[in-house]
Symmetry: C2
Subunit: 475 residues, 2 copies
């Protein structure tokens, strides 16, 4: 019996062009852009839809480790491993590390390399293509999925489709960099070109062999980072020094454009990289006026417009080709057809201390134990909503500048104040005087939710001294 | 010594075209559109800037009585009286009622009729014009302030300036309805026309005499509504039945277009009716790119655009001629040059039960004792921020479906629960079990602010039984 395909999901991207919904601490792949699951969860579900797949390996960075684990759990899909990149070094070394890691378990491992933030319709055409790609990969080919183009897109690289292979797929003719519009139109008119989707099907050992031959520094860094990796809770932390020594280079440049084993499988299933708001708009099937609305809105005399709103009701009158993306603390309004410009604006916001936080965090912050959102911040007090997952506890901590009231609104809280333990249920409250040592835990089976009212002269997150912590943040 | 001019401020309008900032329960005149005072407060301050004015009479409707009183108090300006219109009947009867009311105190009263929601620069030209208008009014003329036009505006009525009067001002040639653009351009080119500002200077008795002759039903309704008026706290409630019998007609149609005593005073001081967002934009002196920003925003490659935001940071890229008005729960985006269309959209929002509330209330509700805003509303709990003015108390009340926690974050609270009184200071909290009879009061000298956490199966405002109330809302 042949072993199952091992999916390798690359989930370390930042997706700045989908700001303000995508932010550094919780980017694009972890938010709900297409329905009520995140793109990462939809990626997991697509894999769960076929019994040809083994449990996926997720490659991400340390900042996203908890959200990866939490979203996989919420989607009820077991992960094979979560590999943590200590620094960002582009895709070549990330894939090489996943390949070395997979080889430790199975010398014949076939890897399906996937983005975590693409929209794909997982239909028969999709699973059929996966089967064809697997066969080609088992025959030793390094297979790229090539999307048959439907428009003269300038945002993707192209691949010229070469001679057909016996088991399906084709040799790669050549790689074409992201073209200008005239070139894109010519490629589309000529035919025989596909978009480089960034999805691959590869034998781990075949890939490693090519990598060692064509990109020895990358291979050496990846191998050593896996050998020296350290397991931490559910995570595999790749070695910082070894991984950091890798050149920052994409797998296309490092391997696929050089190897004689590159194959391409032209596919026609519905695919989008959701690279900017116009791509998200396009993936959502605009209505007769060309409008897409996610959230609550009223559009009048308006066409070719995308509205995304987190809560506020949006009313649009008499506009064409506009993107209106309204989060709770930041709103983007601009030309939908030029929505890729958001990336440059995010750089500008990030460079200004007054707006930097808007590029980094959402109003809700996620933590290993649950999370919180600030619902009201005033001069000398702040109101937060906290949620704590069943069985989790926060660090043992104290504050020098604020006291806190906790009112339990859902579930059960175990509160320790200066060594004294109290159990609070829904509708009970407790006072935490300034300077007390305290800890919050959820001993129950359902989520604990509480309202925290802080009062004091300084309410910053950094007024915290952690004495003990389940998540290695004390001291 | 001649008596002072009695200002009559008409403050009953709804200003729907400035939605979402202007809403039915707290419209345009009561919000801060030009600096950190409301337009109503700026109107009061303009009057306080001259010693020729007596304490103003405000004519408004019952819903606005507390906000009128509160804003006058905040601006530290004593009002002469607050006349409450029981129903909306346009300006003729409102002004007639104010005239009858003023005559009770002074048979020679000169009234300056003012809108509460215009922007006017109170400079020497302004006060000079007031003096000229007063002289003409004392000579028996019913004087309209006519703004010398600076553009072919189609949003205002025009007045042809007739022969000069001996004491300043001119006879009215004729009134011209709001013109189309071609007509407006012709009137501007011809010269001799001014905009009808809706501001008047009239002798109360001269006006009444004309009203009784030309609009006897209006005069009779106004006289009777004043005779039967009832004083309630600081308010004069005009009689509902009598006032309601008045025809709904503007003072222009009913009196000024018919009387032989109509005069017009052409003036050149800076004036705007702030009738829609483009007028607000214009009144704010746009920057070199034609942009006006009220609040926090980043504009890139954008021109002739108005951004108003209540909190969220707005980023605009590559647009021209756009209004972006972002309140906490509703956002308008449309052509700035067609901003008057907001009025029609508000009608549409009002007709839909799902969005009706967005046209009526702001997130913060004002009450005679202070007010509250809902900062978080979830399935089985709600968090509110309450503020109580010094010396005020809420009604004695109970709830059948919710219990409440109160955490004092500023000032001092006197809390009565089932007859037991507690005093709470900053940082203290108290629990109000479901069904208890309770009352909140602020016994202190500074504002009391508290966070209320409600939990229960039903959290509607109507789960309240009032036993006693300082503001006549019990039983």
């Amino acid at each position: 019996m042949t072993s199952k395909i091992v999916p390798v999901i690359l989930a370390g991207g930042q997706g700045t062009r989908l700001w303000p919904m995508s932010r550094a601490t919780r980017p694009k792949q972890f938010i709900e852009l297409m329905g009520n699951r995140s793109l990462f969860q939809q990626t997991l579900e697509r894999l769960a839809g076929s019994d040809r797949y083994a449990a996926p390996i997720v490659v991400t960075n340390a900042d996203y480790r908890f959200v990866v684990a939490e979203q996989a759990q919420e989607a009820d899909i077991a992960l094979g491993a979560i590999l943590l990149e200590p620094v960002a070094r582009n895709t070549a070394v990330a894939i090489a590390a996943a390949a070395y890691f997979a080889l430790e378990q199975d010398a014949d491992a076939i890897l399906h390399i996937l983005a975590s933030d693409h929209a794909i319709t997982a239909d028969a055409a999709y699973y059929g293509a996966v089967g064809t790609a697997e066969a080609a990969a088992r025959a030793g080919w390094l297979v790229t999925f090539g999307i048959v183009p439907t428009r003269p897109e300038t945002g993707y690289g192209y691949i010229a489709v070469g001679e057909a292979l016996p088991d399906g797929g084709n040799k790669v003719g050549r790689f074409v960099e992201k073209p200008d519009l005239a070139t894109a139109e010519r490629l589309l008119a000529e035919g025989g070109y596909v978009w480089n989707s960034g999805m691959f099907m590869i034998g781990a050992s075949a890939f490693i062999a090519e990598c060692e031959a064509l990109a020895p520094e990358t291979a050496a860094a990846a191998r050593r980072a896996v050998e020296l990796a350290r397991t931490d809770l559910d995570f595999v932390r790749l070695d910082t020094e070894a991984f950091g020594a890798a050149p920052s280079i994409s797998v296309d440049y490092a391997i696929f454009e050089k190897t004689g084993k590159a194959a391409v499988l032209p596919v026609t299933f519905a695919w989008s990289d959701l690279g900017s708001w116009d791509a998200v708009w396009s993936a959502h099937a605009p209505d007769a006026n060309g409008n897409v609305v996610l959230g609550s809105a009223l559009l009048s005399g308006t066409s070719n417009t995308m509205v995304v709103t987190d809560g506020a009701h949006v009313v649009v009158e008499g506009l064409d080709d506009v993107a209106i993306i309204a989060s709770q603390d930041a709103i983007f309004v601009g030309r939908l057809s030029q929505a890729q410009r958001v990336g440059a604006l995010v750089k500008q916001l990030k460079a200004d201390p007054a707006t930097q936080a808007l590029t980094e965090t959402h109003k809700t912050a996620y933590r290993p134990w649950g999370g919180y959102s600030s619902v009201l911040l005033a001069d000398r007090f702040q109101v937060k909503r906290l949620f704590v997952k069943p069985g989790k506890k926060l660090s043992l901590q104290k504050h020098f500048h604020r006291s806190e009231h906790w009112v339990v609104v859902k579930g059960t809280a175990e509160v320790t104040i200066d060594g004294q333990i109290s159990i609070l249920t829904e509708n009970q409250s407790i006072y935490l005087p300034l300077g007390c040592t305290h800890r919050l835990a959820n001993p129950g089976k359902i989520e604990l939710e509480l309202i925290e009212v802080q009062t004091g002269s300084y309410l910053g997150e950094d007024d915290i001294v952690r004495t003990e912590d389940d998540f290695g943040r004390a001291g």
